[in-house]
């Protein structure tokens, strides 16, 4: 009984993880299309250092950090495009408008972890 249940649990988890990857890629592609259409700039994380910092950010959701008095919006995708998408307030509003036009949910904006806010931490990823 125990072995059967263990095998069942492993099988279910395996199937869930396999389905997870393709669904996430589809979502990422769709989001990135919207971001580019809204005027976000795509910046590849083309060095190991940039990629390491990218993976410390909120992933696959629009997040915000402050640069002076101005917000910088970004969307980090380390797995599929290996890029970060950067936009300003106008780009973000355009992105929201596109979401509304396509009847898509507008999720809340994530916040950059405090330790990543410092320009020294952030700078290597570039800015708008």
């Amino acid at each position: 009984m125990g072995k059967f249940i263990t095998a069942l649990v492993v099988a279910v988890l395996g199937a869930a993880l396999a389905g997870c990857g393709s669904a996430m890629q589809q979502t990422a592609n769709q989001q990135e299309e919207l971001l580019l259409a809204a005027g976000f700039a795509k910046k590849p994380a083309d060095t190991p250092e940039k990629m390491a910092r990218l993976r410390r950010l909120p992933l696959y959701e629009v997040a915000v950090r402050k640069k002076g008095d101005q917000p910088i919006y970004y969307y980090a995708d380390p797995n599929y495009s290996g890029s970060i998408y950067l936009g300003n307030e106008a780009n973000y509003q355009a992105y929201r408008k596109l979401l509304i036009e396509r009847n898509m949910r507008t999720p809340p904006v994530a916040v950059t972890p405090a330790d990543m806010e410092a320009e020294a931490e952030w700078g290597v990823l570039g800015s708008r």
Partner: protein
């Protein structure tokens, strides 16, 4: 030619042209009459046919007209439908735009109001806030009876902090109410006072005074933004506090109902000291009580001094603890009880799901020695040996899979030795996966599966060891729960509350775990004398549970 004209003409011709016999004439006239009659009938039939044809043509024309009208109406309807759809979409977009504008306006209004309030209240009148947590539900077994000894820590490993997934195994009614009053002064400095009361009962009744644990669990004040610290890069953000509290930086694995760190008691501390730009530290001193020393009635008090450090995504926590004369306390089952201890924790917190997808994840390791071997609730357990050691690892996270599914895996494992008795060894590992499947905006299905392994050995140094006392147990526990759930917005993630749930749980476990009770006589069924599964009273190796539950926080 008309029939009368024809018959008359023929008759005249016959009459004028023929002078034959009268009898022949009569016969001829009869035949003429007959012919005329037939012609009249034929003409009638022709007229009827013509009339029918005209009627049919009229009907066809009417049908065609009706068809044209219907077609016209359909076209009109389609056009109207499309127009309505376009109008509805436009209205929807306008409504959404209006909503966004309203929210932006609201945010601006709040900012302005906050600024105005700050200006208008230089002495900062009290800001009152009320926060809370509550769960209330019941569970029943296959026979319709209530349950006891059931919860995330219901397995034998639960004594050591080894949990199973909480969904579908919580029959208790627990409530926390947190009241804060904050006063902000002209200088920007603030003081905050917190009162938290809590209660937990198992009974389903409304009057519960006889069973109630109603209690004040937090009672403290803190001071922040103090002008005395202004200008110091190390202390300018520091917060001072004193009183009885849960440490601000405690955190848990919700799905296990298990804190990773639960530091609480009465004491004082300073938060958010920044020795360098990227290093933040909290230093606290808490006191707790273990019980009394007989016959002097002297109270044994434990003290926990902690430095909790954050550098980037890393957390490093170092605690020392001591409890004078704890070994003299009676009665406790251990000999050579610990009177001091250390505790270390190293954690890595990510704002994403293991650097791979959206969500969050936390991973870490804890180690404790002596009084620190209770690695979760720091300095709260006095019945540990002076050589007790524990090491615990944990990792958990939350991520959406797609719009239809989200997943929250969690893993914890611990090894302890010389814990309650010299020579004992305990290992447990718990893996829990919760899946949620939003079906509609307000209804989702939640699924939870737990696997727990445990290998428990009290060793031979159990006091008053009797032959019927089980000193070893090893085996597995599986738990599966199905929970149809209603909430206000199922797309908002795992932590959207309130949640109103139905619960169906199936549990199965190894028979070897029945009767293990850490060197104490086994729990048994009073009727059959069979060993039971921990404190549940269940014999055998599996059980079903059914129930309902509300859970909320705000």
């Amino acid at each position: 030619m008309k029939k009368t004209t024809l018959s008359t003409s023929i008759a005249l011709a016959l009459l004028t042209g023929a002078t034959a016999h009268a009898a022949d004439m009569d016969a001829l006239l009869k035949r003429l009459d007959e012919l005329e009659r037939r012609m009249e009938q034929a003409e009638k039939r022709a007229q009827q046919a013509e009339s029918q044809a005209q009627q049919a043509e009229r009907r066809a024309q009417q049908a065609e007209a009706q068809a044209r009208q219907a077609e016209a109406k359909t076209l009109q309807g389609q056009t109207k439908t499309k127009q309505a759809e376009i109008q509805a979409k436009q209205a929807e977009i306008q409504a959404q735009q209006a909503e966004i504008q309203a929210k932006q306006a609201e945010i601006q209004a709040r900012e302005v109001a906050a600024q105005e309030a700050a200006k208008a209240k230089p002495t900062g009148g009290p800001e009152f806030t009320f926060k809370g947590y509550a769960r209330a539900g019941f569970l029943t077994d296959e026979e319709g009876n209530g349950v006891k000894g059931v919860g995330p820590y219901m397995t034998p490993a639960g004594n050591l902090g080894g949990p199973i997934g909480r969904l579908g195994v919580e029959p208790d009614k627990y409530v926390e109410a947190v009241f804060d009053s904050k006063i902000t002064h002209e200088s920007g400095a603030y003081s905050k006072y917190r009162l938290m009361i809590a209660d937990g009962v198992l009974t389903n009744n409304d009057w519960t005074a006889d069973d109630s644990d109603l209690n004040v669990r937090q009672l403290f004040a803190e001071l922040g933004n103090l002008p005395s610290f202004a200008g110091s890069s190390t202390f300018q953000d520091a917060v001072l506090w004193a009183g009885k509290r849960f440490d601000r930086n405690n955190f848990d694995i919700h799905f296990f109902d298990s804190d990773i760190i639960f530091l609480a008691g009465t004491g004082a501390g300073i938060y958010d000291v920044k020795p360098t730009e990227n290093w933040s530290t909290n230093v606290t001193l808490y006191a707790r009580n273990f019980g009394t020393i007989e016959p002097t009635n002297e109270e044994v008090q434990s003290y926990i001094l902690t430095a909790n450090n954050y550098v980037g995504p890393w957390q490093f926590m170092l605690s020392g603890m001591w409890a004078a004369d704890n070994a003299d306390r009676e009665p406790i089952p251990v000999t050579d009880a610990a009177e001091s201890g250390v505790h270390l924790m190293l954690g890595y917190n990510q704002p994403n799901f293991y650097g791979y997808s959206q969500g969050f994840s936390k991973t870490g390791i804890l180690y404790g020695y002596g009084l620190g071997a209770q690695v979760k609730t720091l300095g709260a357990q006095g019945d540990l040996t002076s050589d007790a050691q524990s090491v615990r690892v944990y990792t958990f996270g939350v991520t959406p899979i797609n719009d239809s599914w989200r997943i929250a895996p969690a893993f914890m494992a611990q090894y302890s030795q010389d814990y309650y008795y010299k020579g004992d060894q305990y290992t447990w590992a718990s893996l829990n996966v919760r899946l949620e499947q939003p079906i509609t905006q307000n209804f989702l299905m939640a699924y939870e599966a737990t696997y727990q392994y445990q290998d428990l050995d009290t060793g031979a140094n159990v006091p008053n060891l009797q032959p019927n006392i089980k000193t070893q147990a090893s085996g597995n526990v599986f738990k599966f729960t199905l929970a149809p759930t209603f909430n206000i917005d199922t797309s908002a993630g795992f932590f959207q509350r309130p949640a109103l749930r139905g619960l169906i749980t199936y549990m199965t476990w190894s028979d070897d775990l029945n009767g293990f009770n850490y060197g104490q006589p086994p729990n048994t069924d009073p009727q059959t004398g069979e060993n039971t599964f921990a404190l549940t009273g269940w014999t055998g190796t599996d059980h079903w549970l059914f129930g309902l539950q509300m859970e909320t926080w705000f």
